[in-house]
Structure formats: structure tokens, C-alpha cells
């Protein structure tokens, strides 16, 4: 009965968005709303000696200047959300005089208007005792991460195999800190009613906001309500609940009025996470025929001193290619920074940059075509777990992509293709991202008027959750899209995992499917029993992964091909073309999937060529905390991309057979571009971004 799944249904929420009727966190209107502005620490480490609020408090409209000096100690009950680091404890905001990182919130000014609050914030005099913060990646004292991704993994004996390998490559790769920079800023409106707290907060994880605020303020969970129907892009920065959300609630309680707090663009670099700076060393050993004999991949990443953020940096190297001797080692270096977080294909984007560049270096060393080298190392099973892949179509992705970009034009010798000032190069990289699925619940209401409402605490930061859930429900309920309403973004709705890690459709979609099935059979039962129609049928179902994850290794795969032009004199890199071929199980909506893939590829271009958070290591100041100097691609940087999804049937991953595509399309892009730059110029750029001076 599948009719809409697989169809390019336009976004069901598009009319609301393009007419400005979709309400984002900062746009909800409340009577008597006051405005809060954060004062950010202007030292990278140290103690607050004095906060002089007298001038600020004398200004018209100013209601309060809140700091550790005049606010109560908050309960901060233990709370570990799904997305919080296992080791460490969140920053307790305005609870003491310590400054742990540049830009840490040290006070909040509340006023009748935003302008009054901003003005008064400049009048608060703060004296610090500053210390020099330390930034020591990769050489500083490192720790073995706990609780999730293994610090050490090995099979076989990689050192021995490297020592005896016919061919070796040994390369070090650096990726700087990157910030998410979604267009919608973080924003929170908080309103108290006695011990009940309602927040409108930009989030990818509605239930967690309510749970965290309940823990921070010592409230009953049922007394905290989060509302967030729309998210204007997030890329992972709105998975955790950050200090500003607590500050908005704290300020609202302090002044006894609802309070709105919106982060400035600059403040979005100071406490809402980022992709950590990483150092990676990859050593490969191989036969002259290309088969890998050894792989040793080490990674070191920054984290804060109060939390150990870990990500799947070295997951892919363990299963990506067939190799008998593999060692991975993952370390963290705590620095005087705030905690990094998940950002656009966390871990995979960084780890696969290093691995896929190293594979290209090996291909060059062996004089084997880079596509061919990957084909020769295609594993039959996941060798890290000794289980089969639920499905794996990397070979088809590589072959299709090679055809579409006309790979046969590529010359093995770098610098062989030239058009005027431009050196032309082609590069390839594989992509992968694990298929996540977690327990999720959904409720379906079949109304007497023949319409249906789908309710679940999911979010939609742009991929099209509203639309894809509509398609699933329509097919199961036999309804047209205009008769199905999807309601998400509310912590009182049935619980789901965070809207991140490309797991929304696999988890929430499965729950919606189950709830629709249950509602349908309830409807049939009612029809058979001859009961009088007229009341609503409500079905709530929880869907959880079975033991298939134990029997299968589940990942989406893809191949990215880049064609670049490098100005022979000026070092400028321009993309001529890029092809991304992906196999990600069933594609519920090809229009949205294509849009998401293009978006991921553009993000990858940013990682490859532009993005870098500049930190002045003398004091921890971030010098490009704005959209003029933190560079992301503009339209002028992006040619037409070719994004293709292959047909892939995977009966094991989840009832829908979907794998998730948001992260996948980001992975491999930076490596494909770096490899293409090498092919064009003969220069290996192992530290991102690939700026022009590296190619002079």
C-alpha cells in the first residue's frame, strides 16, 4: 500500500516557513516579557574579583544584574542526558567566581527592552584575576577516554605488520576547531508559574531540555514543559542543553516575569559546543598489489577540563577496509576551553578525512588508481566484530561515482591536467556513517472526521521530519497528506531519542509506523465489533531495536568525487564539480534527501577549504566569532553538485529500511577535495582548511 514513501513530496511545513508563520524559539510572544543579555567573560581563565552593577542598575528599564554574587546556589541534581559526556559535570552557571573558558557567562542583565539590557551590559564593571589558559593539543598531557568509544583497539599486530610491510605511508593530519553556525541563534524564553516552568527553547532534543531544567532547578519533571516546533538549523549545537537555557529560567525567576534570552552570533562561539581540534596520525602498510596489511590510526582531540567529550573519531578505520592488523588509539587533551560537542557527522568527518587522505597517499605510492585501491580492500564482513554488514554498497557507490564524474579523465601523475591558469585535479574518498536506532514512542489519533494526528517529541532542524513522518503515516493509514497533521517539538509528547546522529527516521519513523499499525487495527476491531464510530481512536506505541544490531554491522556508505581547479600562481582552489553517491537504505523522500545531501556536501566544502575558529592562544580569545570572518561557503563557491542515492534494500536496520543521510553526506568531502588538490598540484595539504598560502 506504499504510495507516498519514496515520492518527492514537497515539505509540508514549507508554506509556514516561507510566509514567516513558523514560530522559532525567540518569536513566541508573551505578555510582560523582559529581555536578558549575557555578559561573557573577557579572560580565558581566572577568577572574578569584582562585579560593579551600580551604573547598570541606574539605567532606565534595567530590572536586574544577576551574577554569582546575588543568585542562589542551584540544586543541579545529577542528570546525564543521552548526549551528555559520560565523564565530567556540566558547567554550573553563575555558581562561583571561577572563569573556566573565554566567553563563559559571568552575569546576566535583565531589562524591559533588549536595547536597554544590551546597553546596561556594557556598563557593568567586572574585574578579573586572569591566568594564562593552556592550549596543548596534541602534545599536552592526555587522558584515555572512558565510557563509549574505546581508547585502545587492536586486532592482529599492527606494529609488527608495519615493520614488515612492502609499502608504508605515515602521515599526520590536523583539523582545527570548527563552529556549527546555524542561521537561527540559540534562544530561550522562560516563564514560571509557581513551581511550574515553561520554556520555548531552540533544541534538537525537547525532552532533555525539560529533564535538565528539572534537575538544575530541583523541580518535578512533570512541571517543566519545553516547546520548540521549529528549528532553524542546528548541526548538533542544539543537542545538549547549554548554560543560556538555565540562565533564561534563572533570570525569569529572579525578576518574576517571563524572560527572553537570545545569544549573539559572537556568543554562539562561547558555550554551545564546537567540533574539537584534532591531531591524527595514520600509518598504513600494504602489499604492492594494494591489499592492506596494517593500519595504525591514532587520534588526539581537545576537550574541556570539566567534561570529557568523546566521539566516534576512530570508528570507521576499524571496519572500513579489509585489514588483518589494526590498531586505533584515541586520547583527549583537556584544555581551558568549554566542552566540544557533536557537529555535522561528529567523529566520522574528522576520522575519515585522515583515513581517506592516507588511502590516497598509499594509492599514489603504489601507483594504483585510488578507486581501484578501495575496491581491492573491500571487506566481506565487518572484521572488527566478525559479523556481516546488514547491507554495504560501497563498491557500487565508487563505480557509479567514477562514471558520473568521468574519472577516466584523471591522470595518475599530479599536475598533468591544465586549463590556462588552472591546474585541474580529481579526487575520491569513501564515506560512511553508522546506522543508529534507539527506542522511540509515538501516538496516533484517528479523529472522527477522518483526519489523523501524529504526536511525538521529535524535532525538525531542517531535514524534513514533518514531511517524512507525514508520508509514513499516510501510507499506513491510507490518508492523503492534507488529512495528516504531525505535531512535534514538545516535551510532553511521547519520548524519542535526540534529533541527531541521523537517527530520527530510523527511530521515530519506526515508532510512527508501529503506532499507525496499532491505530489501524483498533479501527478495524471497532468496525468488526459494530461499535458506533464517533470517538477518537488513540494508539501509542514504543518501537525499539531488536537483536539485529548484534548480528549485523549497520552503516550507510557513500563515495565522494571532487574535481577542483587550483590557480597555479595564486593558490586559489575552486570546485569545478562534485559527485556524491550514497547507499543509505530506503529513501523516503528523494526531494528532501537530495536537498540534505547537497547541504552536507556544501558543509564538507567548508571543512575542506574555509572553516577554522581562530583562537588567540595567549588569552583564549576567539578572533573570528562572526559570519564575516568565520568563513562558510557562499553560493559563489559552490557549483552544481550531483547527489545520487542508489537503491538499497536493507531488511535488518529497522522496519522502514532507512539508514539516515544527514551525517553521511558530510563525510569524505574534505578528503575528496584534498586528494583532488594533490592530483592537481602534487601538494599534500594535511592540515585543514586548505587555504591558498599552503599552495603557493
Amino acid at each position: 500500500m506504499s504510495r507516498l514513501i519514496g515520492e518527492p513530496l514537497p515539505r509540508v511545513d514549507a508554506p509556514l516557513k516561507v510566509t514567516g508563520r513558523a514560530t522559532y524559539a525567540a518569536e513566541h510572544r508573551l505578555p510582560d516579557l523582559a529581555h536578558a543579555v549575557i555578559i561573557s567573560a573577557a579572560v580565558g581563565k581566572g577568577r572574578i574579583l569584582e562585579i560593579d552593577s551600580r551604573r547598570a542598575l541606574g539605567e532606565p528599564g534595567v530590572l536586574a544584574v544577576i551574577s554569582h554574587l546575588n543568585t542562589a546556589r542551584l540544586p543541579y541534581r545529577p542528570h546525564k542526558g543521552w548526549i551528555d559526556p559520560t565523564v565530567g559535570e556540566r558547567l554550573h552557571v553563575l555558581q562561583d567566581d571561577f572563569v573556566r573558558h573565554w566567553g563563559q557567562p559571568v552575569a546576566v542583565v535583565v531589562a524591559e527592552t533588549l536595547e536597554q539590557a544590551e546597553h546596561a551590559s556594557h556598563l557593568v564593571g567586572i574585574r578579573y584575576e586572569a591566568e594564562a589558559p593552556s592550549f596543548t593539543v596534541p602534545d599536552g598531557e592526555s587522558i584515555e577516554p572512558q565510557g563509549g568509544y574505546p581508547a585502545n583497539y587492536s586486532r592482529g599486530d599492527a606494529d609488527q605488520a608495519l615493520a614488515t610491510a612492502e609499502h608504508r605511508v605515515d602521515c599526520t593530519y590536523l583539523i582545527p576547531r570548527e563552529n556549527h553556525n546555524p542561521i537561527e541563534p540559540h534562544a530561550t524564553i522562560a516563564q514560571w508559574d509557581g513551581q511550574r516552568l515553561t520554556v520555548w527553547d531552540k533544541t534538537q532534543f525537547p525532552t532533555n531540555v525539560a529533564e535538565e531544567l528539572a534537575a538544575v532547578f530541583g523541580l518535578e519533571r512533570a512541571n517543566v514543559h519545553l516547546i520548540c516546533p521549529f528549528v532553524g538549523g542546528a548541526f548538533g549545537t542544539s543537542l545538549r542543553t547549554w548554560p543560556h537555557t538555565t540562565l533564561a529560567a534563572l533570570a525569569a525567576r529572579h525578576v518574576g516575569r517571563p524572560v527572553k534570552l537570545v545569544l549573539t552570533r559572537k556568543q554562539m562561539y562561547f558555550g554551545t559546543g564546537y567540533r574539537p581540534e584534532t591531531w591524527q596520525r595514520v600509518r598504513l602498510g600494504a602489499h604492492s598489489t594494494g591489499e592492506l596489511t596494517a593500519l595504525k590510526h591514532e587520534g588526539i582531540a581537545e576537550t574541556s577540563r570539566y567534561e570529557h567529550y568523546i566521539e566516534g573519531l576512530l570508528n570507521a578505520p576499524r571496519f572500513m577496509y579489509s585489514c588483518p592488523h589494526v590498531t586505533t588509539s584515541y586520547r583527549l587533551v583537556p584544555q581551558d576551553v568549554h566542552t566540544p560537542t557533536y557537529m555535522r557527522a561528529p567523529g566520522a568527518a574528522s576520522g575519515m578525512f585522515a583515513l581517506e587522505c592516507a588511502m590516497d597517499e598509499l594509492a599514489h605510492e603504489l601507483r594504483i588508481d585510488p578507486v581501484e585501491l578501495r575496491l581491492r580492500n573491500e571487506p566481506k564482513i565487518d572484521e572488527s566484530r566478525n559479523v556481516p554488514f546488514s547491507s554495504r554498497s560501497l563498491v557500487q557507490c565508487l563505480r557509479t561515482g567514477a562514471e558520473r564524474i568521468r574519472w577516466h579523465r584523471r591522470r595518475a601523475e599530479p599536475g598533468a591536467l591544465r586549463e590556462g591558469h588552472w591546474l585541474v585535479g580529481l579526487g575520491v574518498a569513501s564515506a560512511t556513517y553508522h546506522t543508529l536506532r534507539n527506542t522511540a514512542s509515538a501516538r496516533v489519533r484517528l479523529r472522527p472526521d477522518g483526519t489523523a494526528v501524529i504526536e511525538t517529541a521529535a524535532a525538525d532542524m531542517g531535514p524534513g521530519t514533518y514531511t517524512s513522518l507525514t508520508q509514513i503515516a499516510c501510507d499506513e493509514l491510507g490518508l492523503p497528506p492534507e488529512k495528516v497533521q504531525v505535531v512535534i517539538g514538545d516535551s510532553n509528547l511521547p519520548r524519542v531519542p535526540p534529533h541527531g546522529g541521523s537517527q530520527t527516521l530510523s527511530s521515530v519513523g519506526s515508532a510512527v509506523l508501529a503506532a499507525c499499525l496499532a491505530a489501524r487495527s483498533a479501527r478495524q476491531e471497532r468496525a468488526h465489533s459494530g461499535a458506533i464510530a464517533g470517538s477518537e481512536i488513540v494508539a501509542t506505541e514504543t518501537s525499539q531495536p531488536g537483536d539485529a544490531t548484534k548480528r549485523y554491522s549497520m552503516h550507510a556508505f557513500g563515495a565522494v568525487f571532487a574535481e577542483v581547479m587550483v590557480d597555479v600562481d595564486l593558490g586559489i582552489v575552486r570546485l569545478a564539480h562534485m559527485v556524491g553517491v550514497y547507499a543509505a537504505g530506503r529513501i523516503v523522500n528523494p526531494r528532501l534527501a537530495h536537498s540534505q545531501a547537497i547541504g552536507g556536501m556544501v558543509g564538507g566544502v567548508g571543512m575542506a577549504l574555509l572553516e577554522e575558529t581562530h583562537i588567540d592562544r595567549r588569552d583564549g580569545r576567539i578572533t573570528n566569532a562572526n559570519l564575516a570572518e568565520y568563513l562558510v561557503p557562499t553560493n559563489a563557491d559552490i557549483p552544481v553538485f550531483d547527489a545520487v542515492f542508489l537503491d538499497e534494500h536493507d531488511p535488518h536496520v529497522n522496519p522502514l529500511g532507512v539508514k539516515g543521510i544527514g551525517e553521511l553526506s558530510y563525510v569524505g568531502v574534505a578528503a575528496a577535495i584534498a586528494n583532488a588538490v594533490f592530483n592537481a598540484t602534487g601538494k599534500r595539504i594535511r592540515d585543514l582548511p586548505i587555504t591558498l598560502e599552503k599552495l603557493l
Binding site: 573577557a42 536595547e115 544590551e118 546597553h119 556594557h122 591558469h421 600562481d569 595564486l570 593558490g571 586559489i572 575552486r574 577549504l609 574555509l610 581562530h614 588567540d616 595567549r618 580569545r621 578572533t623 573570528n624 564575516a628 570572518e629 568563513l631 561557503p633 557562499t634 553560493n635 559563489a636 563557491d637 587555504t691 591558498l692 598560502e693 603557493l696
Partner: protein, 329 residues
Amino acid sequence: MMPFAFQRATALADAFAAAANRGRYVAGGTTLVDLMREGVETPERLVDINALPLHEIRLRPDHLEIGALARMAQVAANADVMRLYPAISQALLLSASAQLRNMASMGGNLLQRTRCPYFRDVTSACNKREPGSGCPARDGVNRLHAILGTSEHCVATHASDVAVALVALDASVRIASPEGERRIPLEQFYRVPGDTPHIEHVLRPGELIVAIEVPAGPHTEQSTYVKVRDRQSYEFAVTSAAVALAVDDGRILDARVAAGGVATVPWRMRHVEAALIGQPLSASTFRAAARLSVEGAVPLTFNAFKIELLPRTLVRALETLETLAVPAL
């Protein structure tokens, strides 16, 4: 943002009166309002001069006159400018974003402040913002900073593209005050930082740029602007070059050369021009002349590459003109 008074001036006399009452002129506001938001600029009174009759672009017999309130987009798309002064149009189109070009005035463009991050961050020391407080850029994040015209007190680049083209083409600014008008070559309008980096130009309090004048000449049609930048839109120059050549029979009769992204002010290069004039139009002429462009350059931690990149940028600009100079067959 600090509170401020706001008023509109509809005649020059109003504007001067308001300026005398601690007013700051504002046109497009694309620099000033931005810096007010950062707390870098704290004017007590803004005088909106947009209603003044200074928007026209006129082709005079011996020069081009650009009203100070003409918008960047308007000048870039002007047919006379495109035909007779292509470097000006190109420099404008390679600047900022379409939105900013629609708002920003030409006079304001010339007066825009540097993008040095330490200048724009009031929690940082900066000799330009707070004389005597120090220059963290010298040993800080300085990839985009200057290698020419710097001092121990300031290494910030001048951010304007079109000012580079105008300096190359011998433009002057007409400046009005209650005492009357004066005309100053743009090259002499700007001041290198020396030990007074907070003084950036020779405008006296209350003076207003009313027009830009660019002389006509055999070289202006053969002019171009090449900009090297990290992305292809909405980004300041890493290096840039404005060049103009008058060529006859394969020989360079006259030349104009200025560089951007590398200096504390738009940087005219007369020694490079001298090395071009009288020489045959050839790659070796270009290279030899361009090499002189970085004489005396002082690199910082992260911008030494500009010493290599600037001559290449000049050569590219000259090559672009060489291609144009070849008569169509």
C-alpha cells in the same frame, strides 16, 4: 549599543550644524552601525545625510564625478564607469555582498574602519581604538594583516577595495565644510599609522566628503582590479591589485599600480609604475616590476606568504590587461 540622538539633515548647512553639535555623519551605516553594536564606536549623535543631494554620478569632460552618497551598487553598474573606468566597477563588484553594496555609500566606503579583530573587540588592547594600549595583532592572529606601511603600533590593513582602484587612478576627494570646499588627492587623504594609528585620514572635525573625482586619461579604459580572497563572495582581500596601462605598439607608455589587502592604507606603487613605463609589454617586464612591490615589506607571524603572493597578484592583473591590449583580429 550606547544610546544616541538621531537627526536627519536635508541641506549641507544642517549637516554642518549638527556635526558641530558633536554629530557623526551616517549614510549607509554598514560600518558605523556595526561598530556601534560592538561598542567600538560610541557616537552621541548621528546625523543622517542620506537626503543630501550627493547621489549623482556624472561624466565630466576631463573627469568622472561620483557623489559621496552614490551607492556602491549604483557606481558598479554605471555604464560610463564600466566602460571608461572598469577597475572601479570591478573593485566594487568584488566587495562585500549585494546587500551591503546596495546600502553602502561611496564616501562611507572610503572611511570604513579596519577588520582587524583586535580593533573590533573592545575587550582587547588596540592602539587604534585606545592609543597607547598596545597592539596584540603583531604577535596574535595576523594572517590578514599588513606587510607594508606598518609600524610597531599598528599593522591593520585598510579594508576598502574601491579605494585601491581610486588611488591607482589618481582620484581626489572633494571635502566640504562651512568654510567652503577643498580637494585632496585620495593618496594623500589617508595616513599611515606611525605612532598615531587612531588618526586614519586628514578630515577635520565636521568636514564631509561630498564627491570623488577621477581624472580621465588614456590609461583608465585599460584598467582592472584583481582580488585574491579566501572565498568567492563576501570576503576581504588577502591581496589585491588595481592596475591601469596606456600601451602603444607593444610598449607601455603609462602605468598606474596600487595594492590592497597588504597595507595600512591603499598602497600606490610608483616605483612599480616606473619599472613598467617605457618597457615592452611582456611577462618579464611584469615580473621584474612586480618584484619591486614588496621592497621594504615587513612580515608577521602568519602573513609572510603575502610577500610571495603580492607580486603574483600584480603580475596576474598586468597579464589580464595584456590580454585586453591585444587588438582583436
